[in-house]
């Protein structure tokens, strides 16, 4: 075999710092979590690891709380990503058709996205407070409601509240991605549509939408992954309540770790969550890729 050249060794050495960082901060925790999910490690075992095989995963299947938090997570992701996408697309279309004030509008629209999630959660929890909140005060004055609504104390309104806060924060992110996509579309294509006698709808259908598809994919994947793993917003706003009606998988997993001190089971629920998420993302990827190819 040929001796590796000196320049190859030197090139390899450039790679070492990054590799060490990745190994220590990403690969090691991931492998350890996967490993831990096959062990019992909790208060009962005195925090010692006992091999459990697939028992933790079997428990997940029969755990009604895991099931209900999975449902909450899916529901949350589905509604909030759909609404965010709709709002983001609308904002992007409106903003890019502006002739003046573009920069100002862009900056204002992006403000919610730049705020820390925990701050937004506290902000909306206060706005929705039944006694002192601004939302009830306005609705009462307008006469839409006659007594204060306890937004965060009812399962349905609590879910609506966390979805709303999430949309408020992340629709600007979708806006940003799609807006960038819109800037890439050559104007001549719209002129061509016009020449062919197509209206605004045809322009959107045959020019805007196909060009936006790859950007749509980026926005959706980012948003789905983030929404599926939502933690801070819900933790601060409702803590998963009332009665577990807003408890997502990551909130439940956090409780399993930090409150129940059941590290083996917690690891198993993380692994399960990631597998489900990977399936969803993979499915979406295939869907978009096939659609994207057909569009051209």
């Amino acid at each position: 075999m040929k001796k590796p050249s000196r320049s190859f060794v030197r090139e390899l050495s450039w790679f070492v710092p990054a590799a060490v960082l990745l190994l220590a901060l990403v690969v090691y925790p991931v492998l350890r979590t996967i490993g831990l999910s096959f062990f019992h490690k909790n208060l009962l075992t005195g925090f010692n690891s006992q091999f459990a095989g697939l028992e933790n995963f079997a428990r997940i299947i029969t755990d009604s709380r895991f099931g209900s938090s999975l449902w909450v997570t899916v529901l949350f992701t589905l509604i909030s990503v759909t609404v965010e996408f709709g709002v983001g697309l609308l904002l992007a279309l409106c903003a890019s058709s502006l002739r003046q004030w573009r920069t100002a509008v862009r900056v204002i629209l992006l403000i919610p996205w730049t705020l820390p999630t925990a701050v937004i959660a506290v902000l909306w929890a206060w706005m929705l407070n039944d006694q002192y909140g601004g939302v009830n005060a306005v609705l009462l004055r307008v006469g839409l409601i006659h007594s204060p609504v306890t937004w965060l104390a009812e399962p349905a309104t609590a879910m609506a509240a966390v979805v709303f806060a999430d949309v408020w924060k992340t629709a600007p992110f979708v806006f940003l991605i799609l807006y960038a996509g819109l800037q890439n579309i050559p104007r001549e294509l719209y002129d061509a549509i016009e020449v062919d006698g197509g209206g605004a709808w045809a322009g959107f259908r045959y020019v805007t939408w196909p060009h936006l598809l790859p950007f749509t994919f980026v926005a959706l994947i980012f948003r789905i992954v983030q929404a599926f793993a939502v933690f801070d917003l819900i933790w601060v706003m409702t803590g998963g309540g009332p009665g577990g009606s807003t408890e997502t998988l990551s909130v439940y997993t956090y409780r399993t770790y930090m409150r129940y001190l059941d590290f083996g089971y917690g690891a198993a629920s993380v692994v399960t969550t990631v597998v489900i998420l990977a399936l969803i993302a993979g499915g979406l990827y295939r869907l978009v890729v096939t659609k994207y190819e057909r569009a051209f």
Binding site: L43, L44, G46, F47, R59, T62, D63, S64, R65, T150, A153, G241, P242, G243, G244, R255, M258, R259, Y260, L261, D262
Partner: protein, 370 residues
Amino acid sequence: MLMEPDGTGLWQAIIEDFQTLHPDIRVQLVEGPAPTDTREDMYSVSFLSGAAAYDIVYCDVIWTPKFAAAGWLLDLTDRASARDTADFLPADLHAGTYRGRLYRIPAFTDAGVLYYRKDLVSSPPATFDELEQLSRTFQSSDRSGFLWQGKQYEGLVTVFLEVLWGYGGDWIDPETREVSLDQPEALRALDFLKRSLGTISPTAVTTYAEEDTRTLFQNERAIFLRNWPYVWTAMAQSPLRKEGRVGMAPVVHAPGQRSAATLGGWGFAISKFTRNPEAAWQVVQYLTSREQLVKIQSRMGRIPARRSMLPPEFTPILESARMRPAIPEYAQASDILQRWLSAALTGRVDPEEALKKAAHETRSLLGTGA
């Protein structure tokens, strides 16, 4: 040390007094958030990292087994003086013990109380039937019969346990770890609570916690209220108490059974990771001394967990107080029970089904039969 929010400033004052007596020991009071389970998690996080962020743990009765089983608390068995242990209430002392070793020094005790309107009801009910009868007789359109805490949280568990024990049932045996939630007594208990909704209790009790029910009762909107002793002090300025129209009684039970109130309360433990166990122990001794407990009792209405300081009006109630199962997995077992109780009470699941599921999940949690 991490404490509850110091609304009255009394904790700070007590700590300052301690500092003047012991200038060599520096005590820093950290006011934690009001929800107790948030503070429980804050302790867990700091313990898990192995750091001595907090030397002294202001500890709820139900945390002791978990923290002790995790090996996070200092064994205080040999430090506590015989004179003190003889004075602390046995139930509270027992609640601070895990596997025969003492980890938590009791400070205040708590137990479920039945408050009743003396002006309407001449003598308090002893049984569930009497409670139902009296409620039906005296309730009206703007006055409900019986208020309790039905929101999905720890309070619901304490209420349910009193009813369950009153019917002679049990939840989890801490020794054998056997679960009895699918026994007929448990169904009778849940049926009682479920039946009360819309008949003698407002249906909204399923969203009420302690303060919601206290406010309603204090505004003369109910005949009976199940709550904790703090209500007695909280109502001190209200017409109800000034005019002697409110009384206290042990919680009700079934004929042939005994009244059993759920034991609550707070105490002090010392972190295993502390660098100054001696100093921490001096602080704990100071905080649980008679002199300090008297101050806290008069300012905050907490009942000292000392036999010699028990207010006579609470003695019969506190004597019957029973401990929630002392198991390390308490928080999780309680969450399971809360979820299924709440599901049954709000009509999402049939009570029998709910208890069966709860029993099943608890058993698989405790590893006692799947």
